[in-house]
């Protein structure tokens, strides 16, 4: 019996990932479900809310903030959640359902590269969505985001951890959904209840104390709080970031365990 030999490695041309990514970008533009949910929809809502005079009036109940002020962080979390919970899993589950991952696993390219390319494409959509939401709300609709080092690092950390938590949850949805369509449905059924806790329908400030407590421990409740605090000029408190990091770690390790290639 001879000693076990190490696996023989394949030489993969470096241009391969670029080609894979280019085609994923093309698909994302030609089948723009992700762009519509994660970019167009929150931008349209921002324009609508920003144009209502009623939404732009300061309210004593909200401590002098306007309704629009509340909606800016909500729509930022909306964009990240729509991409991570809704668009990403339906893409990944479709790839598995149609044997696209299986086809790729008979080439020298690891199928994980396709997941990586999908991740990059969705991160690009998220970055563009955030940039447009922040720019449009401050430049056109008079939202006052406080600059400064605490604000900027806080915002980057809050959105980064939100992306981590929501994308990890999206991977778990992709893992448990039997098909692309069911991933889309599970994504929607996760997205809307979580958006409730983010304050999409009733502001968090007017929720009952119990609902507020629950909201604090949901990923989107924590995300909205952290984004709102950082845009207001202060570094977000530790618990919000911790909740987001917790979701990212728990769902991330779960996704690694349960993800199926076929």
């Amino acid at each position: 019996m001879s000693a076990p030999t190490p696996p023989v490695r394949a030489k993969i041309p470096r241009a391969a990932f670029g080609q894979l990514l280019r085609n994923e970008m093309r698909s994302a533009i030609r089948e723009p479900r992700g762009l519509i949910l994660g970019l167009v929809l929150p931008l349209v809502l921002l324009v609508v809310f920003g144009s209502f005079a009623k939404f732009q009036a300061p309210l004593p109940a909200l401590g002098g903030l306007t309704r629009f002020d509340l909606y800016v962080p909500i729509l930022i979390s909306f964009a990240l959640a729509a991409i991570g919970l809704w668009s990403l899993p339906s893409h990944l589950a479709t790839y598995r359902e149609y044997g696209i991952l299986r086809r790729l696993s008979t080439t020298p390219i690891p199928p994980a590269w396709l997941l990586a390319a999908q991740l990059v494409v969705n991160l690009c959509i998220a970055v563009v969505a955030l940039a447009l939401l922040v720019t449009l709300s401050t430049a056109v609709f008079g939202y006052r985001a406080v600059g400064g080092i605490d604000s900027i690092t806080g915002f980057l950390l809050a959105t980064l951890l939100s992306v981590g938590a929501l994308f990890a949850m999206g991977f778990v949805i992709a893992a448990i959904a039997p098909s692309g369509t069911s991933a889309y449905v599970i994504g929607a059924l996760t997205f809307f209840p979580l958006m409730f806790f983010a304050g999409l329908w009733i502001p968090r400030a007017t929720m009952s104390p119990v609902l507020q407590d629950i909201s604090n421990y949901t990923p989107l409740g924590a995300s909205v709080q952290a984004v709102q605090t950082s845009l207001g000029g202060t570094f977000p408190p530790g618990w919000e970031l911790l909740v987001l990091a917790g979701y990212a770690v728990v769902f991330g390790s779960l996704a690694v365990r349960v993800f199926r290639w076929e």
Binding site: P13, A15, N23, I100, R103
Partner: protein, 320 residues
Amino acid sequence: MMTTQSTPGSSSPLSVEVKNVSKRYGATVAVDDVSLEVNEGEIFGIVGPNGAGKTTLVECVVGLRTPDQGSVRVLGLDPRRDRAALHAMVGVQLQSASLPDALKVSEIFDMYRSFYEQPAEDDLIEALGLGVKRKSYYRSLSGGQKQRLSVALALVGRPRLAVLDEMTTGLDPQARRDTWDVIKGIRARGATLLLVTHFMEEAERLCDRVAIVDEGRVVAVDTPEGLAGRASGSRRLRFVPSAPFDERLLTDLPETERVEHEGSHVVVTGSGDLVSVVALALAKAGVNAKDMQLESATLEDAFLRLTGHHLDSEGTASRS
């Protein structure tokens, strides 16, 4: 146990070596103690009805499944452990695999080209009759066009071994012949081909050797002619002579094995160019042969005889 070590790229006379491989799904035995050897440079066919275990067998060969028992070596590599290295040299066409709908044929082809160090030229697309479809979206292709693109992608890396599972299913006769020409061309440059088919004509026309698989077992391995020969020994020529003649006229011929009488018919069993040698010998004696019929055994007959059932064009076995 001795293990021969060979590096990828070294020439080994065996391209695929399957030893006592079994694979079951729950209570169903899909592959039952199969051993096969495919030589470098040959076109090897695996023939059998649907559900015979052909696909499971080739999935074990290309590393998509791990056999429950037995071992597989492909080009000197372990298909599971050396998967990535193997797939740089082995092209695979699967039945149950699709491609992204929103991409064009050329975009998919170029992407797959980028996966390999020395990919095939762009004219592979033309050879498979997809030249005019270059700018078409995958979702707009017909079933046969998708099938041909799938074959193109299996061959795009200039593989040393191509494993093609039902490559001409759903193709019209012309596209089928075009695909056969492409396969012959690939072999001409030294590649080995492992074809899974339930299409007898394809196996007869293309394959150097054929394994007949039924209910998870290999029933026979031989050349298509050899298998056909096994079915009936050799060919039979029936005719009605215009006048009585001395049987030795025919039994003396080297091609003839046996001469029998069936009523008014004479039946000559033999090999080679039976029709002309028999007709010539009779003509010399002034005898005419009427109603001449040559019965030749085919792979189909071999299949029937070896497995006990017919194979129709859909690949469904029916008991006879």
